[in-house]
Symmetry: C3
Subunit: 240 residues, 3 copies
Amino acid sequence: MKGVILRQTDARLVDIAHDFPRQDVRAAAFWLREVLPEFPAATHLVVVDPGVGTDRAAIVVEVAGHRIVAPDNGVALPAARRLKERADGETEIQVYDIAYDDDTTASNTFHGRDVFAPAAARVHEADAVADASGISATDEWVDLQFPDPVFDEDSATGEVLVVDDFGNTITNIPGHVLDDRQRVTVNGESAPVRDAYAQMDSGERLVTVGSHGNVEFAVNQGRGDEAFDLSVGDSVSLTW
Amino acid sequence: MKGVILRQTDARLVDIAHDFPRQDVRAAAFWLREVLPEFPAATHLVVVDPGVGTDRAAIVVEVAGHRIVAPDNGVALPAARRLKERADGETEIQVYDIAYDDDTTASNTFHGRDVFAPAAARVHEADAVADASGISATDEWVDLQFPDPVFDEDSATGEVLVVDDFGNTITNIPGHVLDDRQRVTVNGESAPVRDAYAQMDSGERLVTVGSHGNVEFAVNQGRGDEAFDLSVGDSVSLTW
Amino acid sequence: MKGVILRQTDARLVDIAHDFPRQDVRAAAFWLREVLPEFPAATHLVVVDPGVGTDRAAIVVEVAGHRIVAPDNGVALPAARRLKERADGETEIQVYDIAYDDDTTASNTFHGRDVFAPAAARVHEADAVADASGISATDEWVDLQFPDPVFDEDSATGEVLVVDDFGNTITNIPGHVLDDRQRVTVNGESAPVRDAYAQMDSGERLVTVGSHGNVEFAVNQGRGDEAFDLSVGDSVSLTW
């Protein structure tokens, strides 16, 4: 993919990650939502693409000067909405379709090389996205929404969105529910609330607010997913 | 290696991969053959070097404007031949020897830092490869050839060249043998032929043509090597 | 972190490693000591930070034109001393404190994004480190020293500092103790001394001098840590 891009443009390439969980559109969508808004406006290329070779579309999502080139499986939409929020709503999300001919120009197994990288190069070079060859505005695309947590007087119920490389187990429950609390109950078991991992002894578990602003389950110098016995998609009931 | 290069030149550095299977010259040779022809002409630096510290030579392989700096263990040759093919044969492969003094200037365990990175910087800066200090044309080098498959009226017999990170099991059998077929027999077991992974249900196996143009064994959202019980070097008999 | 930096500066970004052992300050300190002196003078950004969110300081270590931005946990000091040695002592190590407000501007779990990356961008842009906003010289910081080996007439006793990705087991014992020896005894078991991995048959163990200049235990095409049954921190007695 880098070679294909560098044959067409001298854009600066910046590696974000090559180790998103394989085929996991939701996990990639979560991380992109956290990462892309930290970047200056740029063309971003995303290939987490379990539907490669089917008739799923290829798209560009434009918002706030960012251009996200990705398969039409929803992976780019949470990031696009976050970018819109950060721009105080003074921008719109515009989606474009990338035309490609599966029969003649693309493999059925690696559109990253054959479809997305060439499109990213064209999009990077174009003054306006719609000026890029083979790319035209569309109003149909696949969305991906993370579920909203449910709040009660003394509880919040959500789910595990992702587990990071350290084992930190990240939920969709906003961190403010932990404000001024010393302990909460996680799926029936009490656990301490702390501001930082190292406020617990090594190997001890804690509930904290992660860098993404959500409730996360962790172990100082260990793995929260194992200590709390939680995996991606698991339901989480938090009571206080 | 990057530091050594950046002390000598302001070349743009592009990471291709740092996770080729360790010590596996054949796997690296395969991936380089697939990847390097996608790049514009450049100096490429390859260090898969199980013979480090022995008297194996260090070489530069030049073809079609590309300069591949590598140990003399064959790792660069399949890529060089592919680059020559892509240039319609209107180029020759020229090999150069990199002189180095093992006793005084190089460690015996990390020639990437001590021999190859400095040579890559010199080669990058030189108008002609032979202008680079310590580098001279040679006509002796170690070759590496992937085996050819054997074809019969109703079968092809080849071998597994590599298994990729997804578990896709890539053979040396050209993909055209699957044309217009719905099923083939793989080492005695029947399996469906499909254009794309997602044409099977999740977890179901398939035979397909990979992005490299060869027959590959895969599982939609799973690992083909496990489902077909195949490893690198295993013989594969395909009948139809 | 890359996005944060690129919003503030157009510095060239060079990836060194994203796979240092998690939370392992000693291992990171060792690798940085080996790697940073190979680079031209630059701003280096290091985030191995088990104390994130506590009151540990954030610092810049300046030496020989290099500026290392890191948590104040000692991770940068071995590299700084090595850089000083390489400059023949004609430079001093100067440490600066990075002011940050944990309550208002930083998460408690990801200072890489919230404290260190912004500081690295400011330090990179500043003519003098102390010119950078929020950064001032200090004479208090956390040090990290690797233990010295103990020598006897016919032995050296040290410890395993790190194990690399290949399984090579790297000690703090200087390589010169192997000069002119054919065999040594490692924790009571005899093993051959060789210049290069490939001087042994595949799978056979050896004692050698690694690219860092220290005694290392290895297996040709295998893992030295497993063959010698050694882990980081283990004591090593070498006799001859």
